[in-house]
């Protein structure tokens, strides 16, 4: 990247750090990691997918919901710090659009979300989106209209930076930091006007009817059910309620869940619905490719490939979906 573009980005980040806790992609232990930026020079501007997803910013691992004291239930009203997520790439913005939809009526999520500024970044717009090998839905030419951001910074092929605002807050921030040349993009809803993506719908049908496909038996034999894929996945949002007992004050927390763990489906008496690895991994795929698309008309997988990178036995969602896409509804193979 040209040095003047880097300098401009650093200046922007430094200005942002004056009023926000800035989280950004930073090289840490040889991995591109979303973490708090203490120095704007540490921020990576490669536009690559980070090792960890951004979801911890929106749905923290543990979140206090309410306290019970002397028989009175009191909802937790934490003071939310101002946070900026700087450098989210387009796939992560797509995952965020899903989160915003899923948690639209969740007061805890919304309270936090209202204090987070989203600054998307592309290192080679729009070519890097094309390079991400999106497989779960068709390429969207007008994707910036269907993801939520306050500011989007696109580094063009020429090396120049182009700024977009996606909200009133975004416009105000840009003007405040002296960036007066920007285009405004109006959010037109996470689901395009023409409706749910056709490739996604076709895949939904195939995954839903695929339980007898040999793929799941193969995965049953190799998957360790370690659950690393769900931790790495930017669209996994399942959770558990965990209660803490204290003699004077009890409370309930929401804790990130994991459908690969043994107690996920365990009911009183010990019965577990998900009692084999095959059932667990199929359940995970059905969430991504069936339940999310059917309910929200959005893809449940954004093709980031983080699950492939973290899988200790090399399970590759790109290859698995390619196999399932070939199904012609005669699934007994």
């Amino acid at each position: 990247m040209k040095q003047n573009a880097i300098n401009k980005l650093r200046q922007f980040a430094a200005a942002l750090m004056e009023e926000y806790f800035v989280y950004a992609p930073i090289m840490h232990d040889e991995k591109l990691t979303v973490m708090e930026a203490e120095n704007c020079k540490d921020i990576d501007w490669s536009g690559q997918i980070t090792h960890n997803p951004w979801k911890e910013m929106f749905t923290p691992h543990t979140e206090r919901l309410f306290d019970l004291e002397n028989g009175k239930v009191t909802a937790t009203k934490g003071v939310q710090p101002l946070v900026a997520c700087l450098g989210m790439n387009i796939l992560d913005l797509k995952a965020l659009a899903l989160y915003d939809t899923v948690f639209a009526n969740d007061i805890y999520y919304q309270n936090r979300r209202n204090h987070i500024a989203i600054i998307g970044f592309s290192s080679d717009w729009p070519n890097d989106y094309k390079k991400f090998k999106v497989f779960s839905h068709n390429f969207e030419q007008d994707i910036l209209k269907h993801v939520r951001f306050d500011i989007f910074i696109a580094k063009l092929k020429s090396g120049l930076l182009k700024f977009y605002s996606g909200s009133q807050k975004g416009s105000e921030l840009l003007e405040k930091y002296g960036i007066n040349k920007f285009d405004h993009i109006e959010f037109e809803g996470a689901v395009p006007e023409k409706g749910a993506d056709k490739r996604m719908i076709s895949l939904t049908d195939k995954v839903e009817k695929s339980f007898d496909h040999s793929l799941w038996n193969t995965l049953n034999d190799i998957c360790l059910a370690c659950g690393k894929c769900t931790i790495a996945c930017p669209t996994c949002f399942c959770f558990n309620f965990v209660d803490r007992v204290d003699p004077e004050n009890s409370r309930r927390d929401r804790v990130q869940g994991n459908c690969f763990y043994n107690d996920f489906s365990k009911v009183a008496g010990g019965h577990k619905e998900l009692d084999t690895v095959k059932k667990k991994i199929y359940f995970w795929y059905v969430h991504k490719f069936v339940r999310i698309p059917k309910e929200y008309k959005l893809p449940g997988c954004v093709s980031c490939g983080r699950c492939v990178k973290v899988c200790p036995v090399g399970i590759d969602i790109f290859k698995n979906i390619a196999k399932l896409e070939k199904i012609k509804f005669d699934v007994k193979k």
């Binding site: 239930v73 009526n105 007061i107 009817k209 558990n240 204290d246 009183a268 059932k279 059905v286 969430h287």
Partner: protein, 273 residues
């Protein structure tokens, strides 16, 4: 914005021992306003528990017509939390959220023969349907009730059978009764085989998955359509709102799209039954 995760305080106002392991508990909301605005459908459930102990889904077993006064839960002692709920005394307070789920489509039962099949503690959500039939709120042509249990000790709502028999056909069968038992002995499928069931009957069934498997076969032999077999599923639940994923089966959430489904909705889904 309403806080969907915040429970309300409910108070125990009456308790009766229903079976060897189940208490029937009548609750009232601590807040009169909450009680007045409380509405539910037969087949819906509440998430009940204590802070520090979590919460669990329990089907409501009283009639919706009294919802602005109280609601009842029959709680079987099967785990740590339900054990603690069975230790409740009148005046004690617990936390509850709900009602959740779709409930039975009672309008669909109108002017049809209705057959209720309950297995073990699965009978709990069926009681409001019977009560509403007896009170004339559900206007079905005929009501048949088939109830299968392990033994006499596990039968629920024993004091109500006489009342039910006045207006409905009640068949009870026990799998392992004591020597004193003079009624039917065997599995619930025996009652279905022997029963006079017309093919246009609407069946509402709640019980363990193994019961569904065999009962459905017998019902199909009687000519009953899959779309007329309604059943309620039980799964682990946390949020009750179709978000947390614990209760998902195929494309559905048991807590939100269910717990009541028709057999035609479920039959192609792996692991549903």
């Amino acid at each position: 914005m309403n806080n969907i995760y915040l429970p309300k305080v409910i108070k125990v106002i009456a308790i009766s021992r229903e079976s060897i392991d189940t208490n029937l508990i009548r609750f009232k909301f601590a807040s009169a306003t909450d009680q007045k605005s409380f509405k539910f459908l037969p087949g819906q459930f509440m998430q009940v528990g204590f802070a520090g102990w979590g919460e669990c889904p329990i089907s409501i077993c009283s009639t919706p017509t009294r919802s602005c006064e109280y609601f009842e839960l029959a709680i079987r002692d099967v785990g740590q939390l339900t054990h603690k709920l069975n230790e409740l005394e009148v005046g004690d307070e617990v936390l509850a959220r709900g009602p959740f789920g779709n409930g039975f489509d009672v309008d669909n039962f109108a002017n049809k023969n209705l057959l209720i099949i309950g297995g073990g503690c699965g009978f709990v959500p069926l009681r409001p349907i019977i009560e509403d039939f007896l009170s004339g709120k559900i206007i079905s042509r005929k009501l048949q009730i088939f109830y299968g249990c392990l033994n006499e000790d596990t039968l629920l709502f024993k004091n109500e059978y006489e009342k039910w028999r006045k207006h409905a056909e009640l068949g009870i069968i026990l799998d392992k009764p004591t020597a004193k038992w003079r009624g039917e002995k065997g599995m619930i499928t025996e009652l279905i085989k022997k029963g006079e069931i017309t093919p246009d009957t609407v069946v509402v069934m709640v019980g363990p998955p193994i019961m569904y498997k065999f009962a459905i076969k017998e019902l199909q032999k009687k000519g009953i359509k899959d779309a007329n077999i309604w059943l309620s599923l039980e799964r682990k639940m946390n949020c009750g709102l179709g978000v947390c994923q614990h209760c998902a089966i195929g494309p559905f959430y048991v807590c939100k799209d269910g717990p009541v489904f028709t057999y035609s909705q479920l039959k192609g889904i792996s692991g549903a039954l």
